[in-house]
Amino acid sequence: MENNYYDPADLKKFGKITEYQKELGDKYFSYYNDVFKEGALTAREKALIALAVSHTVQCPYCIDAYTVDTLEKGCSEEQMMEAVHVAAAIRSGASLVHSVQMMNKVKALTHG
């Protein structure tokens, strides 16, 4: 066992999750591969979405993987960072929009 929670080499072992549950693992990878195929969205658009979501879920494996993927798909640094800002804006917005609840509560408690 490594003495840390995240090891970059573990990303290569992702496919081995089928070892303990083959059927569900295979279904997951089949679904995953289908999701990233060219569809109504281009593969490039999907890669940028994946990069943004990777930052939201704060998965270092996903960030590594989709940084490479977006580079390979010809995205510029500006496009990649804008995608992360979209994730950050939604994430911060999600906190801020809850402040309406706080304001509601304040007003309910203070008759204000």
Binding site: R44, K73, S76
Partner: protein, 346 residues
Amino acid sequence: MKSLAAKRHPLSAAARQVQLLEDPVHDLPGFRETLERHGIRTLRSTALGTLQVNIGKMCNQTCVHCHVDAGPDRKERMDRPTMEACLQAIDAHQIGIVDITGGAPEMHPDFRWFVAEVRKRGARIIVRCNLTIIVSNKKYRDLPEFYRSQGVEVVCSLPFYTAGRTDRQRGDGVFERSIEALRLLNAVGYGTGDSDKVLNMVYNPAGAFLPGSQSDLEQQFKKALLKDHGISFDALFAITNLPISRFLEQLQKSGNYEEYMEKLVNAFNPVTVEGLMCRTMVSVGHDGMLYDCDFNQMLEMPLSAGMPRHIADLPNASVIGRNIVTGRHCYGCTAGAGSSCGGATT
């Protein structure tokens, strides 16, 4: 920046590069072994359609990824008798495509003479132009007009459609000067859809990653260069960086060598083998030595045993059907959609 040769870097020696690539300490299958695993027992040439001529290593740029280790400090260049021997080989084998490369081939004092001589023979002429050479000195500013007058197909190189990534690979200000050169090429009709003035663009990743879909990249480059700079070109060739010379040194220095090699090996696509450029070409070094491709040339891996060694011996030799000399660097041409001097091979 100096070339590896000028710095006397150990990797400036081809033998050291081959030693590193074939080192058994790296747990990677040999290229032959992989071919055999896919039922490909022999890799042979099928035609002699292209003669790729590297007329010298001198270049006005010193790009960090250059597999030739070219630069202003490289003085090696092809002499006139060797160029004449190339012309004799073109005549003898009726070679249809002559691909002139370097360095910056335009810096060779006999470049224009050689192009004109090839043109007289009716071959299609490709010149691999780094763009900035056109605006590097007054004496090169008429190159677009020269290319036009000789019916040259220009294959220019631009690593990316933004300045930041291009300049990191090629040096400060290279993007801006490349744009200026592209405008001069467009001004004489290159890259505007005219089949006599073809301007193709080479994209190679600016780092330790593989090129994506060539057609998608072409669309992105066309859209960005037209919108931001009013520039057009015909086709984009997406080329994989091969682990040779300065790119190999970069991979080692940045700690990406093993991961990159694994990536190339894992991306091996047997469908690419049929279209490998080495099967239809012969590459000539500045000293007249013969190779299966430009990459083998840089690794000093000559044609297989029994084949001619020098261009002077090519006119009277048959090289079709020869065994292609391979090594682990060949994974660069078989990864994903395949890679060649003309881009993807599938």
